[in-house]
């Protein structure tokens, strides 16, 4: 297995506080990597440093061997690195279809072709497929803000896949989602992993969700990696139990 993304010695300091402290890991092609850790262990900061929302203080990120450290979010996206956010980040006044098309339109054609070309950027069919894949059929013309929370969460995930990304980083996809939608989401993510060979890294608090979905798990505490391995190994790791339950 070759690494799709490798993170080497990444650090982020805010003033005197070290939020991420020399984190190194790899995401392999086709896997679902779970990243867990107690609150404040630096998970979201890690994502934000990888994805251009924050500038890392030190360290390196490589995507397919290419150094992408500190690149802008929009350029990373166009290199095939997609993400979702911890809190819902939709365009509430746009329709569901427009939300999806927007998620794909900047990845094809040129600036000029996006002005003179078709209004749907040729993505209406892909958007419809994505809707039925995430079981949101019939909602295309509704404005995103009017959907229920669970449906918004599904749409949020669907948007991440519109541009056929090489790697998707999901930040707490299960947060606040009720159990029935959660089962749907898990099953859809697994299907997209198996059918399309998509690679994910997922930050999540819901242990059940992580343990049942991920093929490998990375545990962060106080900005460092304290354990890595398959779900069973991690579950039994003494350091992990200590990090969660305190000393």
């Amino acid at each position: 297995m070759s690494a799709l993304m490798s993170v080497h010695n990444l650090s982020k300091r805010f003033g005197g506080i070290v939020a991420v402290d020399g984190v190194s890991f790899e995401v392999n092609r086709g896997e679902i990597l779970g990243i867990i850790g107690p609150n404040g262990s630096g998970k979201s900061t890690l994502f934000n440093c990888i994805l251009g929302q924050l500038k890392p203080t030190a360290g390196e990120v490589r995507l397919d061997g290419r150094a992408v450290t500190g690149m802008r979010a929009c350029d990373l996206s166009r290199l095939g690195l997609a993400r979702t956010f911890q809190l819902l980040q939709l365009f509430p006044q746009l329709t569901v279809r427009d939300n999806l098309i927007l998620a794909g339109q900047e990845h094809r054609g040129t600036l000029w072709s996006r002005l003179v070309g078709r209004p749907d950027a040729g993505l209406a069919d892909t958007a419809a497929e994505m809707l039925s894949f995430f079981r949101l059929d019939g909602l295309a013309d509704q404005t995103a803000g009017t959907l229920g929370y669970g449906q918004q969460k599904l749409l949020d995930a669907a948007m991440a896949f519109m541009a056929r990304p090489r790697l998707v980083l999901l930040d707490e996809p299960a947060a606040g989602v009720d159990p029935s939608v959660l089962a749907d989401l898990r099953e859809r993510l697994r299907a997209i992993n198996v059918q399309a060979g998509a690679t994910f890294a997922i930050i999540e608090h819901d242990m059940e969700f992580v343990m049942s979905l991920c093929t490998r798990i990375l545990v962060l505490a106080e900005g460092r990696v304290i354990a890595a391995g398959d779900p069973d190994t991690v579950r039994r790791d003494a350091g992990v139990i200590e990090a969660y339950l305190g000393r």
């Binding site: 805010f14 934000n48 929302q53 924050l54 500038k55």
Partner: protein, 290 residues
């Protein structure tokens, strides 16, 4: 040498007034995310309150000043917060920005329509007397302006640092969310910043209007200078003082040594220099883009 001293005093005097307006602007922005585009009109209007108190109510100048400041605090502080900001900020930051821009136009056109478009004389605090310092002739007015502005800023700083309310206001300005968790009555603190802002702009009005006459268009450039001072300073109180003084000096320098055309380009040039070379401002901290 005498020239330099004269310029120094004049620069300090105008700069101190810009600093007062910039401090108020910064406080509002930090504590309540209100970008007050009517700040210049907030410095223009209280002068007319004072003139109205003198001419229509027949009050003596010192009493009129008190009436002017009190009316300013009431109208531009309390009423502005309750009638304009509170109902609008629910809809987001952009409607409020538009609303303060419209308020600037409203106050300007209101003075023009209801008071008059003619520039009015405004009595100076220290009369027309001059003082000689080290061979330079400087006006007593300038020295008084500097003294009053310094006293006002010192009083404000003491209030913010050494009283419970003041520290609560600072906490609110730094992070309203955390302040709320700490049990600080954030809404009341925000109202206080509006009152402080109005008091600062009313004071600025009384200090600067004798030099430039009371005119309904004064707010346009006063506002611009306050914004530039606040942004160049880095959107914090010390920065606003530094930005105001710097702007006062440069304004007086360019008036003395450069043509009018270059002088009018000063605010634009400073703003462009800030965004190009020091986006966080002179005394600002670098912010993360999240």
């Amino acid at each position: 040498m005498a020239d330099v001293l004269q310029l120094l005093v004049a620069g300090l005097a105008t700069g101190a007034v810009y600093a007062l307006a910039a401090i108020g602007f910064t406080l509002l922005w930090q504590a309540s995310q209100t970008i007050n585009f009517a700040q210049g009109e907030f410095v223009m209007l209280p002068a007319f309150f004072v003139l109205f108190a003198m001419n229509a109510l027949g009050l003596p100048f010192p009493a009129a000043i008190l009436v002017g400041i009190a009316t300013g605090v009431l109208v531009l502080g309390w009423l502005f917060k309750q009638a304009v900001v509170a109902p609008t900020i629910r809809h987001g930051a952009l409607p409020l920005v538009i609303s303060t821009i419209a308020l600037g136009l409203l106050l300007k056109e209101g003075v023009k329509a209801f008071y008059g478009a003619e520039a009015q004389a405004f009595p100076p605090l220290g009369g027309a007397a001059n003082v000689s310092i080290a061979g330079a002739i400087v006006s007593l007015q300038s020295l008084l302006v500097i003294a009053i502005a310094v006293a006002a800023v010192a009083a404000l700083q003491a209030f913010l640092d050494h009283t419970r309310t003041g520290r609560s206001i600072q906490a609110t300005a730094q992070n309203p969310g955390v302040a709320r968790i700490l049990g600080i009555p954030v809404e009341r603190m925000i109202l206080y910043t509006f009152l402080i802002n109005a008091a600062l702009t009313a004071l600025a009005a009384i200090l600067i209007t004798p030099v430039y006459l009371a005119n309904f268009t004064n707010g346009e450039w006063l506002g611009l200078y306050a914004f530039v001072a606040a942004i160049a300073g880095g959107l914090n109180m010390r920065g606003a003082i530094a930005g105001g003084l710097l702007l006062g000096f440069m304004d007086n320098l360019s008036a003395a040594y450069l043509s009018a055309a270059y002088r009018s380009a000063l605010p634009l040039a400073i703003l462009l220099a800030v965004v190009l070379f020091r986006p966080q401002g002179l005394l600002g901290r670098v912010e993360e883009p999240v």
